[in-house]
């Protein structure tokens, strides 16, 4: 019962937010906060009603555990980011419609996850795509919105075509029912599988379709990027799960060729996932704009999630489900920290910033804990999910996926550390001397996210319990937990022990530190400069080209953007040629060509 209130509430909320912000912009922004928090509360209350069904107007919905889990992640990210909206009201071109679209897209995502039949799924998919397409240009560039929209439409058109095809085969539109007959028809199953997963790839931002991610995240309004990267990317994961889980891909492709025990179709997609991990990491290492950097890290983490979902086994699938949650909150927290820096200094360029920790320590802490989780380092949640994924890969011996996974995890140390060192640490430029720290309303979501990341890093039991239920529903054997340790096939991880031992080590180090004499506080400019006197902090901050020697190794790299630009250019040239051929100023030539074509068609027709 609560869920249809939830969805209706979202759309009503969107309208009220629009009307309220007509009166006063700030109030409109606060309305988005209230409504998204309300959605979060409603969701948590509705936990008991998993399995119930309801309909709104003609659309049928069904509350599944995975739907509940996905929308939980989504609403959490929306709610946390909503706190930031009020500070960007004056910086936006259409703030009123921004509030409206913000809640509208929230409603769309929640509806999508609970859809029972394919038509509802497609409707809510389009709602989200359209609303986010209108929000993205409110940032810096309209081109980003165009690229974002085209690639999303590739996905949605593929889904529409798939739905039509499925309807023709199975006659019903209900999700569970439509996919059922595909089990015993491998050829058709492959076609449907690739069509549906296309939508997943475009939304997660896997290799050929990752172009929109840095563009859209980089130039979307600072307060929408966390939602775009933390939340909307997860819709793709849902569709990917649907095309692998609900369409029983492994049974359908039993007959086909297998590579290392995995059907070739699924293995091909896993290669795409691995390529996007490596590509995302390499590109993220060389970015100078912090937002683009985190966008590329979303591409890399999207690769992890896709590989996990495609494996559909006990460990890697659980790892990717948990990574979904960890990546959502971690990249949202990282984006929020960068948004605070942008709010205060007006720029997100890493080379123009430095020493922010002295002005905004809490933002620094948020960013630090976020990147510890993004990089998958122990006390935080990211480690648990990456550990599970790697254990899953080790269990099945997929060495090339493992190579990409290791490269991604070690590479993540590099690119997450770049903004930490160049934006937050290092020398503080005089022009940033009087910056105020993050405003109170921004501090609340950041603290909540920090607590969540740390809590689920140390005690992932609750989340893994939910994921276990999802696995049971999907027909896989759930991940086993005994007490606080996760039992994998070839290893055990007790996150509480890891945290306690880490705390014990930290304690010993602290005691050693305290035993010694107090140290003398010294300014940042009083550093070793081989005895030269320095007076200009900006000259003395190492921020731009942080990994120059490493970046030089792959400076001239092939890029999908250039390939597509070349393609577009050739298309343009061909068009010009045809134009010159047919519409030249001598009408005779045009008439001649038309007759030739007509003749060929008619005579040719006879011949066939």
């Amino acid at each position: 019962m609560t869920f249809d209130i939830l969805i209706v509430l979202m759309f009503l909320g969107a309208v009220t937010a629009y009307l309220v912000s007509k009166a006063d912009l700030k109030a409109g922004a606060y309305a988005t906060v209230l409504f998204s928090l309300g959605a979060l509360v409603l969701l948590l209350l509705g936990r008991g009603e998993i399995g119930s069904e309801f309909t709104i107007l003609f659309m049928g919905f069904e509350v599944t555990t995975i739907g509940w889990y996905f929308s939980g992640v989504m609403v959490l990210v929306y709610a946390m980011t909503a706190f930031f909206n009020s500070y960007w009201m004056d910086k936006m071109i259409y703030p009123g419609s921004y509030n409206f679209l913000y809640l509208f897209s929230l409603g769309g995502t929640v509806g999508l996850f609970f859809a029972k039949d394919l038509i509802t799924l497609f409707i809510f998919w389009e709602i989200v795509v359209w609303s986010s397409t209108f929000i993205v240009p409110m940032g810096k560039s309209r081109r980003a919105a165009v690229v974002y929209y085209t690639i999303s439409t590739i996905g949605s058109m593929a889904t529409l075509y798939g739905i039509m095809l499925l309807h023709r085969i199975s006659g019903t539109l209900d999700i569970q029912g439509a996919f059922a007959p595909l089990k015993n028809d491998p050829v058709l199953a492959t076609v449907i599988f690739f069509i549906f997963i296309m939508a997943g790839l475009t939304k997660i931002g896997i290799f050929p379709f990752h172009i929109w991610l840095p563009l859209a995240h980089g130039s979307a309004p600072h307060t929408f990027s966390p939602v775009l990267s933390g939340g909307l990317v997860k819709m793709g994961a849902f569709i990917a799960y649907m095309s692998v889980g609900i369409l029983p891909a492994y049974e359908a492709f039993k007959g086909s060729l297998t590579v290392m025990g995995i059907p070739i179709q699924i293995y091909a997609l896993m290669i795409l996932g691995a390529v996007s991990i490596v590509l995302g990491t390499l590109m993220a290492i060389k970015q100078d704009d912090a937002k683009k950097l985190i966008a590329y890290s979303s591409v890399a983490n999207g690769g992890y999630i896709l590989i996990g979902i495609l494996l559909m086994d006990q460990l890697a699938f659980a790892g990717s489900m948990m990574h979904l949650f960890n990546h959502a909150i971690a990249s949202a927290a990282a984006f929020l920290a960068i948004a605070v820096v942008a709010h205060r200094t007006g720029t997100t360029k890493i080379s123009e910033l430095g020493g922010m920790i002295h002005r905004m320590p809490l933002t620094y802490l948020t960013y630090l804990i976020a990147i510890i989780s993004l990089a998958g380092i122990p006390p935080m949640g990211g480690f648990v999910s990456k550990w599970l994924i790697i254990q899953g890969l080790a269990d099945q011996g997929l060495m090339f996926m493992a190579l990409a996974a290791f490269f991604g995890s070690i590479g993540s140390f590099l690119y997450v550390f770049r903004p930490l060192a160049a934006v937050f640490l290092g020398q503080l430029a005089p022009r940033h001397e009087e910056l105020a720290s993050a405003p109170l309303l921004m501090k609340i979501p950041m603290t909540i996210l920090m607590v969540l990341i740390l809590f689920f890093g140390v005690l992932p039991g609750w989340i893994l319990g939910i994921i276990g239920q999802i696995q049971v529903a999907a027909g896989i054997e759930p991940v086993m937990m005994s007490g606080n340790s996760i039992l994998a096939v070839n290893g055990v991880l007790n996150t509480l022990n890891v945290f306690m031992v880490f705390g014990f080590g930290f304690l010993i180090a602290l005691v050693i530190f305290m035993l010694m004499q107090k140290s003398r506080r010294v300014g940042l400019m009083d550093t070793y400069t081989s005895a030269e006197f320095i007076y200009t902090p900006e000259l003395y901050h190492y921020g731009s080209a942080f990994y120059a020697p490493f970046e030089r190794l792959y400076a001239r790299h092939p890029s999908v953007e250039d390939f597509l630009m070349a393609l577009a250019y050739k298309g343009h040239e061909a068009g010009l040629m045809v134009n010159a051929l047919f519409f030249s100023h001598k009408p005779g030539v045009t008439v001649f060509w038309i007759t030739v074509i007509v003749a060929v068609v008619t005579l040719g027709g006879v011949g066939l």
Partner: protein, 183 residues
């Protein structure tokens, strides 16, 4: 050696001084012509690592500052800046007669003639320039001084900081200068 006055140091200090004596890291500031005497002292013939001494990269990590020869006014400013970057307890050893009384450059307009006017010097090594044997002997003396707690130049610098600063400003007009190459 002055007779050992009543030893004021606490036992903890004595143990620390034992460690400080047997592991002295050297800030190798090659100021004058004495710097060339350091390589033979460090390599196979004399090997000062036997005494626990070795070169370190930055003044922050170093214990002893070796002034190995004459100091022009410009270099003296940089030496004072490096000395102040070093951590306590720190020691200064002056090599050769240029640091004692100006040596052959006593009448030059550019070089200082008495090092302990600007920095607290714990030990001087006579000679122009002292050979590695003299340097090893000097390090031995320095080790004994530290063990007995007599190398208190750094405390003297802290206590009479304004006297030192007055001397420095008298000779150098300013210690922290803005030079053309760092604008």
């Amino acid at each position: 050696m002055t007779t050992n006055s009543k030893d004021m140091r606490k036992t903890w200090e004595k143990i620390a001084d034992y460690f400080r004596a047997h592991s002295i890291w050297m800030k190798w500031y090659c100021t004058g012509c004495g710097a060339i005497e350091m390589p033979p002292t460090m390599t196979s013939r004399f090997d000062m690592e036997q005494l626990g001494m070795g070169p370190m990269a930055t003044p922050r990590q170093a214990d002893v500052l070796l002034i190995t020869g004459y100091l022009s006014a410009k270099t003296l400013r940089r030496v004072i800046y490096s000395y102040e970057q070093m951590q306590d307890p720190k020691y200064v050893v002056g090599f050769g007669s240029c640091t004692l009384n100006g040596g052959i450059y006593f009448d030059s307009y550019a070089t200082m003639t008495r090092l302990d006017h600007y920095l607290p010097v714990d030990l001087y090594i006579a000679g122009c320039m002292p050979r590695p044997e003299a340097i090893m002997n000097a390090f031995d003396t320095l080790i004994k001084m530290i063990e007995k707690g007599e190398a208190k130049g750094w405390r003297h610098y802290q206590e009479n900081h304004d006297w030192y600063r007055k001397n420095q400003l008298h000779s150098l007009k300013e210690v922290y200068v803005k030079d053309e190459f760092h604008e």
